[in-house]
Symmetry: C2
């Protein structure tokens, strides 16, 4: 129990809650804890939407398989993050995405009823949940903007600026997935993505630190590419 | 007051609430009622996110202007529908979209604080709100799927099936906007859209009823185009 409470405290959902408050809340609802091996599926596409999950340790990916067979990673979920909440409260009867363990994971699952009960018992948690779900819709909105862009250089510039929580201090971008998945997410070929990154490097707009890390050198030039 | 309550009762947000219950709730919060002329702007892009709106009469559009100047209609909002809720509860400080009156409108605006108060006072309304906001995220998700499709015939087929609440009975699709806006939303040219509709008509997959109405004649064939 103590472990669970400590893990839950890392989540934005339970921000500013004391261990005692959390323990009382969790005791008043049913939940189940599940341990998963790497590559195990948590929710499959077309399975019915009964549970909201929260990652206690490890990492998950929420992915969509397009009709053409291409895989798009919609979200990466790590310690403290919730998943499945949109499908559970919407009128979807089935999950639209597959949720898969990227590493060994420990998760906690709440039924819709139990999760809703927690929300009604504590206004802070309700506010945090509205924040999380709104940010998700906001992120999806920005992804639509990115996909609506037609030129490859606009798409890549928009993605570097908007998709990865760039730190304002040092302007370091950490890719949470491979360049192959990134290219799929942008709906462009891997070759086009590499070509565009080369262009940005040659013009001293970004610098490659390592295979997963990019540093933005000239945010103004990057912005002006995105604005077309 | 009686008019306001009757209009609010039409909203999914206040589903199953009696006039008395609604009156008590509304009395406990601040709100302002605004009358708008056609083409007036309610929220502009980059204005600060303080209010959630609900349409009492008339129609609004929520639109996004892409860097290239193209206009994308993200949502149409009619009587009973809410808008601005995602921006208000997310960490966005500015509205990402412009909200414009499509016809003369009457709307009610609640501040974040007052709206949140209403949610905490009534569990049914809270549940309805979670339903609305989740459905929005779900819709945005499906739009991402549509934009990620590469071929024009897949995009059009996906859009006809998913974007317009096709009635299951008679399979009638009503376009809430012009074909120009539809083409923009799909990120294809108007000529391509017309060509694709002609193809679908010639193959007896859909039939054009009038400029805003399409009837699906063969949903299986339409599905198989979308699935590629």
């Amino acid at each position: 129990m103590k472990n669970l409470i400590n893990d839950l405290k890392k989540s934005v959902l339970f921000k500013n809650k004391s261990s005692n408050e959390l323990e009382n809340l969790i005791m008043s609802a049913n939940y189940k804890i599940v341990n998963l091996y790497k590559n195990e599926t948590v929710f499959d596409v077309f399975s019915s939407t009964n549970y909201i999950g929260l990652v206690l340790s490890g990492e998950l990916t929420v992915e969509k398989i397009l009709p053409c067979g291409k895989l798009v990673v919609v979200f990466n979920k790590s310690c403290g993050e919730i998943f499945g909440e949109v499908a559970v409260f919407s009128d979807a009867e089935e999950y639209p995405c597959r949720v898969v363990a990227k590493t060994n994971c420990r998760i906690v699952l709440f039924s819709r009823k139990d999760f809703f009960k927690i929300l009604t018992l504590d206004n802070d948690i309700l506010y945090n949940f509205l924040y999380l779900i709104s940010n998700k819709a906001f992120y999806l909105n920005s992804k639509i903007e990115s996909l609506s862009l037609t030129s490859i250089n606009q798409k890549v510039a928009h993605s570097i600026i908007n998709d990865f929580n760039v730190s304002n201090k040092n302007r370091i971008v950490r890719l949470p997935f491979s360049k192959k998945v990134w290219a799929n997410n942008l709906n462009i070929s891997r070759a086009s993505l590499y070509r565009e990154i080369d262009y940005l490097c040659n013009n001293l707009i970004v610098k490659i630190i390592d295979s997963n890390t990019i540093k933005i050198l000239d945010i103004n030039k990057l912005n002006s590419i995105y604005l077309g």
